[in-house]
């Protein structure tokens, strides 16, 4: 909201500099987002208010005139080209040296006077553009008639316009008077209310119009007044200036008065041309199916029965609380005005304006909730102005349909509640002072305050609402900082989160860069990595109103995101890259929120760095991915088994499921080159995924432990010939489970070889064996005997033989 300081000062004295005022307002009332100083560059000596005494033709130019002006120092002649200059006007007048905006270039420059077409000019009568007020350079700025002659212009119309963001529940702050009341309470200054006096004519408003509310649930109050003898025309300069500063466009005096009073009080008003109201009656009712109304913005609106209309004897004349209809608009021929000031159900106004996609200054106020009593206040103020400014003669009495006036709530605020909520007490006198200044009624009974909020504060209805009023004015800076007392809640074990966060840290430690991607992706990207047959993943949830089409679907796989991150960085990275993301797959479920399945997805690939940070000939491969998985799981205290599987978008023969015990906890693979190519990745790229739900189940509460043996282990290397299709893991499993004379054998593969010297259909595995007994040092003979037993077992189980 635009808040001109000059207007605010009608109701409350403000003598703080703008920055200090902005801080006080932000601390206690509403957020000041900035402010604009009007007239900052107007030198008080050089730019002043002048009166135009006479306008005469220029002897040498048809389009120019000679204006005689008085700045309080006797008549001066100036040459002027403005079409609208006229005797009797108050105008802005500048003399040599004033800083002005050049009418043509738009730049700020110093005024230099010179003779124009042979006539010397004593100064310059200024346009809005030259004053920096707007781009209007058509004519001169005409000042309010009561502007003091000779006064510095900055005193007459200089201003500070604050830009204030108010709250969704505070319609009263959308009125400058409401704002002033808060400023008065905060600064301790008195509030001056606007003049609401007027003289009623002998005719009764009720003789002109009747009001029947047919939808009392949506229309809580409807007041109508009648003003005859309207002299329609432009509103006075002071009113136009205020409307413009507050961000509205002047239209005519009647419409301007309704807008002015709305900006002033926060209560929207609407003026009808009485002679266009058919049947001399007003009926607020729901729209009928099929009804339409062309609103003031010349758009034909389709109405539906949930919408409240203001109707006359024949049909809709306004969309209640949002916008009037063209059929009853005030125009130059208007003689009598029917002024509507009403109160509507806020939810209904909001629904209708959302449905019609029509937001107006009126609807923005109504939807926040306005007290119904404000209607008569605003009526009186508008009638005062219509009488003063538009020559109107108000008929006697309001036609006031107010089916169920609401009693103001009475709130009991126990004094102890203040300290209970805030941590500090506020003295009774201070409570009374603050609440009274804000317009509340306060009485004390025993240990409690009985508080009645003013009619413009329907947002206050609980004791804690009152406490907020108190503390914000009392000052949050008086609130001390204290420490939470009391007992701590019980800690809940969160094993999954623990495993997830540990994995996150480990992945980074293993050289993977963490990325975080948008969780909404495109159907096209998802389809690259998700099988159309994957019932959990192929039908992702979609956003109704995505921010962009490439962010429509909630991802059911992280693979696309991480591959995209890989591809995006390949443009500026030459060497190996490793990325991971921890996130969830949003898996749709029957009749419930989706299952948010937590996973870690990592991708890696590219040329390993050599000395000097240069990419070398060797590329990362499947075993780099698997090695990372093994290290990660090792840290988590589990050993995994890897089984060949086939999976969509991954390269067959280069894909393994990772299992721990009974649980499948993830997979590791080379991304299918065809799929990688869809991401513009032209090199082998690998990924692994860990699924935290099964992984957490697979991790034992306590890791296994055995004390270190006191006896040295014996080591032997073996070269075995095994069938080519027997996985190394099978060989190792046979060795691991072989038992002989209480000796444990562990084994690691240190080479795999196929080719020359190895029979077709077989491969050679080099295996390092370690033998250990818990009760003795193993001798050479022991080891040889055990190894022979092991070789027999390997031959039996796998067809493996010793390579010689």
């Amino acid at each position: 909201m635009k808040l001109p300081l000059s207007w605010l000062r009608d109701y409350v004295d403000v003598d703080l500099p703008p920055a200090e005022f902005a801080k006080r307002v932000t601390d206690a009332i509403a957020e000041v987002e900035g402010w604009e100083v009007i007239g900052e560059q107007w030198d008080p000596e050089l730019v002043r208010v002048a009166e135009v005494l006479a306008v005469d033709p220029h002897p040498n130019a048809d389009r120019l005139v000679l204006a005689t002006v008085n700045v309080g120092e006797g008549p001066k002649t100036v040459v002027c080209g403005a079409p609208n200059v006229a005797a009797g006007q108050r105008v802005a007048f500048a003399t040599e040296g004033a800083m002005l905006v050049d009418g043509h270039s738009g730049k700020l420059s110093k005024l230099k006077l010179r003779a124009i077409r042979g006539v010397d000019s004593a100064g310059m009568v200024l346009s809005e553009k030259e004053l920096g007020l707007s781009d209007d350079h058509e004519g001169i700025l005409v000042l309010p008639e009561d502007s003091a002659i000779g006064a510095p212009l900055v005193d007459a119309i200089g201003d500070v316009v604050f830009d204030v963001s108010t709250w969704a529940n505070r319609a009263d702050l959308l009125g400058i008077l409401g704002f002033a009341r808060e400023v008065a309470a905060v600064t301790g200054k008195p509030l001056r209310e606007p003049d609401r006096s007027y003289t009623e004519s002998e005719r009764q408003a009720a003789d002109f119009v009747s009001v029947t509310i047919e939808a009392p649930d949506l229309c809580r109050r409807f007041t109508a007044s009648i003003v005859e003898g309207i002299e329609l025309g432009p509103s006075p300069p002071w009113m136009q200036q205020r409307l413009i500063r507050a961000g509205m466009r002047p239209i005519n005096n009647v419409v301007d008065i309704t807008n002015y009073v709305m900006l002033e009080t926060g209560q929207p008003l609407h003026a009808f041309d009485y002679d266009l109201v058919r049947g001399a009656e007003i009926r607020p009712r729901r729209a009928r199916a099929g009804e339409t109304l062309t609103t003031l913005d010349e758009v034909e609106r389709d109405l539906d029965p949930d919408m409240l209309m203001i109707c006359d004897g024949e049909g809709p004349v306004a969309v209640a609380g949002i916008m009037g209809g063209g059929n009853s608009e005030v125009s130059e021929s208007t003689k009598t005005v029917l002024l509507e000031v009403a109160n509507f159900d806020p939810g209904s106004i909001r629904r209708t304006s959302t449905q019609l996609r029509l937001r107006s200054e009126a609807s923005l106020r109504f939807e926040k909730g306005i007290g119904p009593d404000l209607a008569s206040y605003a009526q009186a103020r508008a009638l005062h102005l219509l009488e003063q400014v538009a020559g109107g003669r108000p008929a006697a009495g309001l036609v006031d349909a107010f089916p169920t006036p609401l009693a103001s709530p009475r709130i009991t605020l126990p004094a102890a509640r203040i300290e209970q909520v805030l941590g500090i007490p506020i003295e009774a006198a201070e409570v009374r002072r603050i609440l009274t200044a804000l317009g509340f009624e306060v009485t004390e009974s025993g240990d409690a305050f009985e508080v009645t909020p003013p009619f413009w504060r329907p947002d206050v209805d609980l004791p804690d609402d009152v406490i907020e009023e108190l503390i914000r004015v009392y000052g949050y800076e008086k609130l001390p900082t204290t420490v939470l007392r009391g007992s701590l809640p019980e800690a809940q074990p969160r094993p999954l989160e623990r495993v997830r966060e540990r994995s996150r840290a480990l992945a980074a430690g293993l050289g993977f860069q963490e990325v975080l991607s948008y969780t909404l992706t495109s159907g096209e990207i998802l389809s690259r990595v998700v099988s159309p047959d994957d019932a959990d993943r192929a039908g992702p949830l979609a956003a109704t109103n995505p921010v962009a089409s490439q962010h429509t679907y909630l991802r059911t796989s992280l693979r696309g995101s991480v591959l995209a991150a890989y591809a995006g960085n390949r443009h500026h990275e030459d060497a190996a890259m490793r990325f991971f993301e921890v996130g969830v797959e949003y898996l749709p479920t029957e009749a419930d929120l989706p299952h948010e399945r937590p996973v870690l997805c990592a991708v890696l690939g590219g040329q390993r760095l050599e000395r000097w940070e240069r990419p070398g000939p060797e590329r990362l491969d499947y075993f780099d991915a698997k090695g990372a998985v093994e290290a990660l799981l090792d840290d988590l205290g589990v050993a995994a088994a890897f089984t060949p599987v086939e999976e969509y978008a991954l390269l067959p023969g280069h894909t393994a499921a990772i299992s721990v015990g009974e649980e499948t906890v993830g997979l590791v693979a080379q991304v299918h080159p065809d799929v990688a190519a869809t991401f513009d990745i032209e090199e082998p790229v690998f990924l692994f995924e860990l699924w935290f739900e099964p992984l957490t189940r697979a991790i034992p509460e306590r890791p296994a432990y055995a004390p270190p043996s006191r006896y040295p282990e014996a080591r032997r290397d073996l070269a075995l010939l095994v069938p080519a299709d027997t996985p190394a893991s099978a060989t190792l499993e046979v060795i691991r489970t072989h038992r002989a004379r209480g000796v444990r054998i562990s084994a690691d593969v240190f080479d795999e070889y196929r080719g020359e010297g190895v029979p077709a259909g077989q491969k050679s595995l080099a295996i390092a064996l370690r033998f250990r007994a818990d009760d003795r040092t193993l001798g050479e003979k022991d080891v040889v005997r055990i190894e022979q037993g092991l070789l027999r077992r390997l031959e039996q189980d796998l067809g493996a033989t010793l390579r010689t």
């Binding site: 509403a30 914000r472 980074a508 860069q513 969780t519 109103n545």
Partner: protein, 351 residues
């Protein structure tokens, strides 16, 4: 000079001369074997032949030969020591490294700056006894809005532009991407009894255009404490400790009035600008006000306390919500929020 002395002197001279010729370790080792070798070193053999010497000379010859032996051993050791010292001197001087050359590359991963900041925030609150709770990102409209007092027809809904999910459950239950972590206030209170002291980290979403300070996906941390005797001054104390932990021990904080439907009273918290120290009218961060708004907070609305089945006359609570990206931007001076989710290594590897 006795013959014994002459013989020993000659041996010494010959041995030392030979040692002087040995200019590397192999030569010194050969010399040692030649003279002092246990089996057939010349001095060893000569000592062994002592028993053949005339008895009256045996003692003085033995003494002289043993003295020679320790002289030779000492000389050898000295030569070796000198050679080692020479080698080290060469290593430090002629073979000195250019220690400024780059190290051998290691692969290094980092946590995302949002994760790092989140972890720091969690640690700060965990020290004050807050437990971590997590809730769903896809949320019921009821939890996201209605249960936190933002009914459908209230303009407060405009405070959160919402991304809706196109699936309606049972023809009426609407799903959305949570716009804030506040629905978890309800989820936590539904599941537990006081005392409640939790933080809820997680992603949130807004249907809004992005610019340097607005992103449609964001990360929040929600805080909630409900118990008998929880006061707004405790909220201030908690957030004060948080601000000092994250932004420096000399931080000051202020509250100012704000409005969130689920708290009463509601405030916004600002910290004093540590970039310009309230000195700069042209400070891009605080715009010359000296204060930087970093979070919204307030006392949990009594209706929400009651709806959870707690007694609002006994139990009071506070809640707050921190935007993690905003905290991260302030910490590192990041100028544009849109960097966070572009996954550009040139950005990510700086943290």
């Amino acid at each position: 000079m006795s013959t014994i002395e002459a013989e020993v002197d000659a041996l010494r001279a010959e041995a030392l001369e030979a040692l002087a010729q040995a200019d590397d370790e192999a030569g010194r080792e050969a010399w040692r074997a030649d003279w002092l070798g246990r089996k057939d070193g010349r001095l060893t053999l000569r000592l062994r032949s002592l028993k053949d010497a005339p008895p009256d000379q045996r003692a003085s010859l033995g003494k002289s030969l043993n003295a020679l032996k320790s002289t030779l051993e000492g000389e050898l050791e000295a030569r070796r020591e000198a050679a080692r010292a020479d080698a080290l001197a060469t290593l430090s001087a002629d073979a000195a490294l250019d220690v400024t050359l780059p190290g051998r590359p290691q692969s290094l991963g980092r946590l995302h700056p949002v994760t790092q900041t989140m972890n720091d925030c969690i640690d700060a609150f965990a020290e004050m006894g807050f437990r971590v709770f997590e809730g769903p990102e896809v949320e019921w409209a009821r939890y996201n809005f209605d249960a936190v007092r933002i009914p459908e027809d209230h303009p407060a809904r405009d405070m959160w532009d919402t991304i809706w999910i196109d699936t309606l459950i049972d023809g009426e239950r609407k799903m959305l991407l949570r716009t804030h972590t506040s629905p978890n206030q309800i989820r936590v209170m539904e599941q537990t009894e006081p005392p409640v002291r939790v933080i809820v980290p997680g992603k949130c979403y807004r249907q809004e255009a992005t610019d340097a300070t607005h992103e449609w996906m964001l990360t929040q941390i929600e805080g909630l404490a409900v118990d008998e005797g929880v006061r707004m001054s405790d909220l201030k104390g908690t957030l004060y400790a948080f601000a000092r932990r994250l932004f420096g021990a000399d931080r000051q904080i202020i509250f100012h009035h704000s409005y969130f439907p689920f708290v009463e009273p509601g405030v916004e918290m600002a910290i004093d600008c540590f970039l310009c120290r309230a000195g700069g009218d042209d400070c891009r961060t605080c715009h010359g006000t000296g204060w930087i708004e970093i979070l919204g907070a307030g006392m949990v609305h009594p209706e929400i306390i009651e709806n959870a089945g707690y007694d609002s006359s006994r139990h009071t609570g506070f809640a707050f919500g921190v935007g993690i990206e905003r905290v991260a931007m302030l910490r590192w001076g990041i100028e544009d929020i849109r960097h966070f989710y572009q996954n550009d290594l040139r950005f990510l590897r700086q943290f």
